[in-house]
Symmetry: C2
Subunit: 255 residues, 2 copies
């Protein structure tokens, strides 16, 4: 049986304020939680059905509570609860200047939708991009919807919350690390020379890359549209931020 305090505590972690206060986040489901159990993420508590607890090997260091699915519904952030909810420690990463050397890194300028951020983390994982630098205005990467949309990739990708302008200003002096940005007037990504090292800036869902950040972009790129509709007579105006990210990452990696 769940106590009232447990229910209140777990539900509080759906809010950023309490996640920061306790340095904890929640993850759910029979697909994601086993991945976290096998990752460097520290799982503190498990609220799970007897079936889940029986069929997984779980360290003795983890507090566990056997509960029914109906009880799980009371703490779940999902539309339908699924076997298990884990309370985990938020990992703290520090970005050292050499960490991005020789690598591709995503830089997110105010991604607001948790589904988009989670999907971008999953894309980074697929394309071997280890680090994502987020602006302070980007949605919290330990928001439950981000964690779920990342499908476990949150345990493998390092996400940093930084002042983007400060971060990018330090980088502009390094010709080894071009700063790519997807902009409507950029060069066709399919024919552009793309480096194996650099930063790729992705803009906000409705506003794109902010003006101040645009000034720091060294290589403007663009995904051309193949629409049959002429501009003005109606055509897709843009791609979703996560979709644009996936096409860009695919282009960088295939070469």
């Amino acid at each position: 049986m769940l106590s009232k305090n447990q229910i209140k505590f777990v539900n509080s972690l759906k809010q950023k304020k309490f996640r920061e206060e306790h340095n904890l986040f929640i993850a759910e489901g029979a697909k994601i939680v086993p991945e976290l159990l096998n990752s460097p993420i520290v799982v503190k508590q498990l609220f799970a059905t007897s079936e889940f607890l029986r069929s997984h090997s779980i360290s003795n260091l983890i507090e566990r509570y056997e509960i029914k699915e109906s009880e799980l519904e009371r703490i779940s952030a999902l539309s339908s609860a699924n076997e298990v909810l884990a309370v985990c420690e938020i990992p703290k990463y520090e970005l050292n200047s050499d960490d991005l050397k020789g690598k591709l890194t995503l830089v997110l300028d105010d991604i607001k939708d948790p589904g988009n951020l989670g999907t971008i983390i999953r894309i980074a994982d697929w394309f071997g991009i280890e680090n994502i630098v987020c602006s302070h205005e980007t949605v919290d990467s330990f928001n439950p919807k981000v964690v779920q949309a990342s499908m476990g990739s949150i345990s493998r990708i390092k996400v940093y919350d930084l002042d983007l302008i400060e971060f990018l200003q330090q980088k502009t002096t390094n010709p080894q690390q071009p700063i790519y940005g997807a902009l409507l007037e950029g060069n066709n990504i399919y024919s552009e020379k793309l480096s194996a090292e650099g930063l790729i800036v992705i803009g906000n869902e409705s506003k794109g890359i902010s003006e101040e950040i645009q000034k720091l972009i060294t290589n403007k790129i663009s995904i051309p549209s193949f629409s049959h509709y002429k501009s003005g007579s109606g055509e897709a105006e843009s791609l979703n931020a996560a979709i644009a990210t996936s096409i860009i990452c695919s282009e960088f990696r295939r070469r």
Copy 2:
């Protein structure tokens, strides 16, 4: 003022049963509705703020109701209503055998998430893919969440609801139209020869392409992972269906 019957009627269109009965769907927001007003889609009714009605030219054939944002909340399917809700006729498209000639077409095998389907419709629009064939089990393309995620592209892309096995069986006899399918054991899409005409099958979010449909695939393709994690020690297992679609469409079109 909205009448009780109006509220009930518009809200009923959030369910597929009533959309089919009345042959109507809803679309919302100051970004999407103007696109529909400028498209071949027949808009029947507008529920809008005075600002919206004043700043858009609207045919006399469209019934309009000037309402407050607070009233809009009572009929909106969005988490926060936005200026306007349109009630529109569901267009009826019939697929003739020559319609797909010389073209790329997406074939969706049980896409269940409305956000994914809407995003796929938007991707098709961007990449100049005019037709999408959906299995009967795919989410209804006039579900309000699909319409919103398509960002107006629903007015330009023809979506057909067909028996996929029957449809694909007719196609297997046509060597001009290869049937591509994204499968884990497929050939590397980056080095595979890709045709300018053909069908691209995208599988269900969790199960992928069903076994019966897999048998009808003539060209198996796969998006390679660049993850640093070795299989088993944890790695991204798959890409989201819409993400995979975007990378595949990008590869077909860039060549």
